[in-house]
Symmetry: C2
Subunit: 77 residues, 2 copies
């Protein structure tokens, strides 16, 4: 199976959701990207439809926005 | 592994998220509950912390609110 990508920004909501997602899907199936520390990944995330973090981009290109940690605008700021 | 519970209300956002979650986690690992059609399940969902649907209640009791379809108040109405 192609990997999902979990975008987060290190916020408490993000960390909690990351643990849950990795438990559910399996850490081998998810690439974890900290967009606060890797701002060069922000354009690709936005292009994929990520509006806020934490968010999970599925292998088929759907974005699941999970709970609400921070908007992408907050991450850029 | 204990099952997760996916609460939804049949809205388009819910249906799309349901397909994604079942693909990612495996349909055998998720109980799907339509709270619009099974309003007797709403109290249990609210007690678990579900504020809006679609939402996934993980086996360890965490609630992942996914995108946004409808608030629980909307579902009750």
């Amino acid at each position: 199976m192609a990997k999902s990508i979990f975008y987060h920004a290190g916020c408490p909501v993000c960390v909690s959701a990351e643990h849950d997602i990795l438990n559910l899907i399996g850490s081998d199936n998810v690439e974890v990207v900290h967009v606060g520390e890797n701002k060069n990944r922000i354009p690709e995330a936005e292009k994929a439809g990520v509006k806020s973090v934490p968010a999970l981009l599925t292998p088929n290109g759907h974005v699941l926005h999970i709970n609400f940690g921070a908007s992408m605008a907050d991450v850029k700021g």
